[in-house]
């Protein structure tokens, strides 16, 4: 019980400290790292305290310390799984899926006929739930990473498509009229007006897609895989009740996902520096 209480006290103190730092040093570089780190640390300590204080069975939820220990001793396994699932499956699928979505969005945007025809049908096809498609794609593309990439393609396609279509429509009248007076060709208007104007929306989609890609690649492995990969490890470790290993894999996924998201956010900042949401702070 005392573990529980001290965890809560720590949590309250850390939250107060965070609020104070954020208010006092709003733009300090160290604060930008320290605040989220402290926030995360509070969550972990709260977790540790809860697990210990409430005597939660390690079979249901292991303590962060146990997870950290397991993590440290299985780095080799974790790295192999990371390479299989993320470097091969997720990344390949992400690139193909986002690329395809952008191209389809452009095609759709260009042709009102396609827009009316493809968008609803595209919505429909892309809304097929992964749990349904994953077994089918595993059947089609085999057990290795190719089928995982295919699942990722299906998962990231829709969010990127929706955002890109909205983005391509986000130009204002004056900006379009300008292009009309130059009698700019379709391609020129696309390259010089519509694509730049669509970027803030596109990055919205790309950022959401990063986490979806990871989920897709991992989940697809539940439906058949070679004997490596994060999803494989998670499902087998659950069977062995090796929860610390499960959570180590989840931690890898979280780290990779945050890194991936952060990378996209950085690129976004560089590409859409002109957008008010980036400019104002």
């Amino acid at each position: 019980m005392s573990a529980l209480i001290s965890a809560f006290v720590f949590w309250a103190a850390a939250t107060a400290l965070n609020g104070w730092i954020a208010r006092s040093y709003p733009s300090a570089r160290w604060a930008k790292l320290f605040v989220p780190a402290l926030f995360g640390a509070t969550l972990l300590i709260l977790w540790e305290g809860l697990v210990r204080g409430l005597n939660v069975s390690p079979v249901i939820l292991p303590a962060p310390s146990a997870i950290a220990a397991r993590f440290a001793e299985s780095t080799e396994v974790l790295w192999g799984d990371f390479a299989q699932t993320i470097l091969k499956g997720a990344l390949a699928g992400y690139v193909i899926g986002c690329g395809a979505a952008v191209l389809v969005a452009i095609a759709i945007d260009r042709s009102p006929f396609l827009k009316r025809g493809l968008l609803p049908v595209g919505n429909f096809v892309a809304a097929l739930p992964i749990v349904g498609i994953a077994p089918i794609l595993v059947m089609w593309f085999g057990f290795d990473w190719q089928s995982k990439a295919a699942v990722v393609v299906m998962m990231v396609f829709f969010p990127v498509l929706v955002n890109m279509v909205a983005g391509l429509a986000a130009t204002d009248q004056l900006q379009r009229d300008l292009m009309a007076t130059y009698s700019a060709s379709y391609r020129q208007t696309l390259a010089k007006l519509r694509l730049p104007a669509a970027m803030p929306f596109l990055f919205n989609g790309l950022k959401i897609a990063t986490t979806l890609a990871l989920i897709g690649a991992i989940v697809a492995e539940f439906f058949g895989s070679p004997t490596r990969g994060m999803g494989f490890r998670i499902s087998t470790a659950v069977g062995q009740l090796d929860m610390p290993l499960v959570w180590s894999e989840i931690a890898v996924a979280a780290l990779a996902g945050s890194g991936f998201f952060g990378l996209m956010a950085l690129i976004e900042k560089a590409v859409t520096f002109w957008h008010p949401s980036q400019r104002r702070r």
């Binding site: 079979v59 087998t236 062995q240």
Partner: protein, 306 residues
Amino acid sequence: EEVKLQLKWVTQSQFAGYYVAKEKGFYDEEGLDVMIMPGGPDISPTQVMAGGGADVTVDWMPSALAAREKGLPLVNIAQPFKSSGMMLTCLKETGITGPEDFKGKTLGVWFGGNEYPFLSWMATLGIPTDGSEGGVTVLKQGFNVDPLLQKQAACISTMTYNEYWQVIDAGLAPEDLVTFKYEDEGVATLEDGLYVLESNLADPAFKEKMVKFVRASMKGWKYAEENPDEAAGIVLDNDESGAQTEAHQKRMMGEIAKLTAGSNGALDPADYERTVKILLGGGSDPVISAVPTGAYTLDITDEALK
């Protein structure tokens, strides 16, 4: 009195005994109100037990023993299944005639605790499974038989009562197939036993309840063995997903009856010893590292079968 039973898999004839006992009023006769919760590939019965979501669960002994070693003390209180229904089913056209032909082939295996009999089998055969030279390629097989039909694997894991018949239903003839039963290969482990938490057994009232439960369940099993078609019908009525077909369930019940036939519900310690031995020999990464103690009790069945 309320009893929550967590199954290992979805509603099917594999669990006919419990459904029959419920529908036929055997539980009522004991004064029990039994709630049967179906499982699935995403449900780990041991976790449900750990979370206090069920009083008793149907599980395979390898996974129950693994849980025990990981700190969740499950105890076998009854063993309605005498023999194992697990086997490896291969396409004849791949040229496999015996286990020595496995080398260089791709084999589909169920993971999640079901891989240990397979791994110890391979270990006794001296065939590496880590992808090294002269070994086999192991695939984590999904929930259906597609890898065999699509020829993505030379052999896949099947149950005598389920997946094997799906292969046959798909249009392959038994002559096209070669099967290796774990039972015949001497690597069979105990399946579908009833497990409870050790701590609960300390409570005499709980023990009493389990005695009633096992007694009624076995009554259900024996009824199901004698009336397979009726039992399959009962299972079908209890399937909320509406996915099962009558023909398949009837056939499954027939096969299940063969596995339960030799058991009156009591665990045969010899079977237990054999299972432990196989699991301890499971190659480089055995499922259990030491001989478990107190992993089963005969108290409940002794009482129930009096």
